[in-house]
Amino acid sequence: MVKKKSQKESFEPQILVFCCNWCSYAGADLAGVSRFQYPPNIRIVRVMCSGRVEPIFILNAFKNGIDGVLITGCHIGDCHYISGNEYAQVRMEHLKKLLKSLGIEEDRFRLHWISASEGKQFAELITDFTDSVKRLGESKIPKKLGLIELESC
């Protein structure tokens, strides 16, 4: 029992974060410029808008054994592309239900808005999300390594 607990503590989750170019990526940059420290478990994929994120991307990530996925975008009303984040919100609500039926814990997936000036909030969000994924422990799906390959035309 004790051993298990310590294992859980030392468990370093792998977390995928989508950031939109205009707000949340800038917010993540600001966290850096301001030197707000957060756990080194996230890997950011930059997209132009949170509205670009397809639900299949998230399913893919979980299929590969990634422990948590976080999607970030501009606050509602602030989207650089006017309404992309609203589309993201609708899609991710649907996805949440699907993930539940697939048996993936709710806390492994989150959608959150971060503005370009919210460096501190970004750091706090990452800290909080990482903690909650850590509490859940490793994903039940085994990790799958990727390939560097060319798309067949």
Binding site: P40, M48, G51, R52, H80, Y81, I148
Partner: protein, 1038 residues
Amino acid sequence: MSKKMHSSVLVVGGGISGIQASLDLTELGFKVYLVERKTTIGGTMAQLDKTFPTLDCSLCILAPKMVEVYRNPNIELLTYSYVKNIKGSHGDYTVKVIKKPRYVDSSRCKGCGDCSTICPVRGLPSEFNAHLSTHAAAHISFPSSVPPIYHIDDSKCLYLNYGICGLCAKNCSADAIDFTQKPENIELNVGAIIIATGYEQEYPEFYEKLEGSNPNVLSSMQFERLLSANGPTGGELMRLDDKKHPHSIAFLQCVGSRDFHHPECKKYCSSICCMSSAKQAIITKEHSPDTECFIFNTEIRAKGKNFYEFIVKSKEEYGVNYVNGRVSMVKENPDNGKLILYYEDINRGVVETKEVDMAVLASALFPNKAYYQFLDCLDVGHNELGYVNDEGIAACEEGYIYFTGYSRKPKDIPTAVAEGSACAARISEKLYPVRFQNIKEIEYPPEKPIMVDEDPRVGVLVCQCGINIAGTVDTADVVDYIASLPYVAHAEENMYSCSSDSQEQIKEMIKEHNLNRFIVASCTPRTHEPLFQNTLREAGLNPFLFELVNIRDQDSWVHQNEPEKATQKAKDLIRMYLGKVVNLRPLKKIKVPVEQACLVIGGGITGIVSAHNLANQGFDVYIVEKKASLGGNAIDFIDLYDISLHKRDILNYINDLKNNPNVHILTNSTIQDIYGFVGNYKVKVQSGDDNRNIEDFKVGTIIVATGTYQSQTERWKDAFEKHSNRVMTQNELENLEDTEIPGFNDATIILCVDQRADEFNQGDSVKTYCSNICCKVALKNIEKLLAVNPNAHIHVLYRELQFSDLNAETLWRELRRKVSFERYRSIDEILINSNKKHFHIKYNNIGAECEVEFNSDLIILATPAMPSRGTAELSKMLKVPTTKDGFFLEAHVKLRPIDFATDGIFLCGGAHWPKWIDESITQAYGAAGRAAMLMVKGEVETEGITSQVTPEKCIGCGRCAEICPYNAIEMVETIKQMGLYTITEKKAHIIDAVCKGCGACAAECPLGAIDQKHFSKFQIKKQIDLLTGIDLKACQKG
């Protein structure tokens, strides 16, 4: 006019304002000679750690612009040079420039620093580090200097002075040391001149009473260097004598400025120090939250967009302490080495002392010596404040000579940037007949075609960013790992990937290793992607075959205490992006024709000035104004105050516009619809008295100049009801003729009504911001009231006086002899009742610390300046953002103050933020210049990243077209004959020029028929797949 006009411009001073002016001028069709006294351009901004109020890393946003100057084929950069004399007149000047010898051949120097390493002459004070560090006689100002060329200090070099040593020449493998160099005389012919010589600050030693020679008393620039990651301590905040972290720091405002008693002091407010100290205190708190920060101030002047909120944030979120009172003396405590400050705390009315570990002197900023030599050269005088006077400016402008930045008057960065653009616009107005005569087009080598079956050969450059990255991430280890991955043809690391020498290095790498894809792992693509993309283009590669991986802002800086994990993260991120990069395809930007016409929304002074400038440059202009006539708020003012413009000038401008056949003035008009994109906007305007006329026209660019209005207050309503003609806003008083003002003996001006929220001023009706202009408008109104009744008693109830403007200090000192300025803390504490003598006012006075009451028969209120009505609707129509206060939001607070993020749309004046008329005019010129830059060539390039449809997969459901926020997708019907049947087929089609590349349609399409270029399904999938690691064996098999 037969007079000769040269199609080139001299810009003196390579700080941010000079840089902006130079870059804009070349776009407007003029060759630029940029003369800089120092060995590098960048000016003061290059020395700053961060900029307020966004805390952007200063050099990070400036460096790309410096590099842009360096690469621009139409800017001839003359660094380490000075102007000796100027002869001629407008349009035709002959300028003598002396280029001082660097003793380093700039064509050979690789910027490696071998000369500096071996140079035995050490200990010369570094100007860049404000004397806090030293360098050798052979040195470079700072690592990202532009040009990146070393130079030898001839006053100390042993070889140049004594003919011995010469070690550097032996050590230089590039053979670049040249001791025979002599000063070069250069003669330039130019049509116009911009003076942007910037400012200087005294070193602390100058202020003896403040213990300036103590190593722990620093100037604000020295402290800035101390905070900076590329500063003398690598960004570690410490006392320079005992290397200990300071636990308490005092910032001393107004040192040597705003002082009429001491001749060595400046009489004006330097305008930026309050904000700069607040910024430094915040950064200090971020370095170490336990350090106590005290800002000793005369009053806090936060003049600028959302600056006041920044001050409030420093207090409330960071716990910075503000002490109202100047420090008169500083002494070292011999017992503990601390500094004892002697000061008066005005709020508490006591004289006190305080011990701190470090003191920062936010001392006066003033034009540098070069400025005065220049004024001599031009034969114009300066006033007692030390600045070129209004007559001098007018005379110079008559001769096409313009002052910008701090050399005109104290100002912050965005104002200096807008002014740089404004100078370019004004010169373009004068020299437009000869534009493009000296311009070289940037010629890129032909693009190397990428064959479909050609294997990717990726080059990876890992940036150390000095120690910013390498201090945490083991960059050598990262390079080793990346080099082992498939398709990586070459990987290496370097010190500063963004420097100009690195761009050459990248080109070399591409050539030597025959690369066809490139990754730079450094800072953020938001600022640096265009730079590297351009480098790729120069190397003959399509700029979209590139990715920037962020291992600084999102890695080394946020995991400073976990070097191993940060290193792992860097490896993971580069690997993920490698998965994407090998699948990148070249993309084409398309050229879109630009309509050479501009829509100016708003016919106030700002709109008029923009329109006037553009019309004189030969463009068509449409002015749309809600009201029945042009002139905006200011035309109703009886007087204009403390600006160089007279009301008759505005009327002349309006007349010019009316008589210009290229100008279409639409008054009583509202915009119904704007549709389109840069270069091709279709505008529908409803106009005429009955609003029935509909006009449609096309423009290429849009300038938003919608201005502000002053709101009314709900406060003291009952008291005001009875004598409502005796209560008015400042604006309303400005609009009254002297005879229209009701008779009065005791007038009261109340400032900060319903604005500047803080711990005392709360409530839903209180705006958080400061309108910036009210204090100075109050001065104007005091003069107006005194002119009507010189014996009147005038009270000004204020909180802090915000006129950080060159002349305001003098004006205020003059007026306060006749008027009582009284400080209050909270607007809620001001009680007003009506009585027989009209009003009775009661409030708590700060300073006297008691309740004060008096009768008044005229009340003038400084209520907030609000964004013009209709701003929200307009922002939706233009698809541009606004701030939380409803003002339009510019593309970048510091360096793009008058651009919107959307191409082709610009803003100026009150639409951006309430501001004094002269500043609005500057922005108006600036916006006109920025708009002209797009129109002058008649075409622009658009985004390369758009969506694309695979028609075979598309079922024509139209979901994509439904959700596209830009109407960039049209459903195209085609009729197909299939045997006996005629089938109508619907397919989605992307209008490339309208597509903004958000990718929402790609995510929406149920069939996967739409994909986004550069962020394709497969590319993103690969990034995700490679997050968990790489299966190298499977890769090799594949």
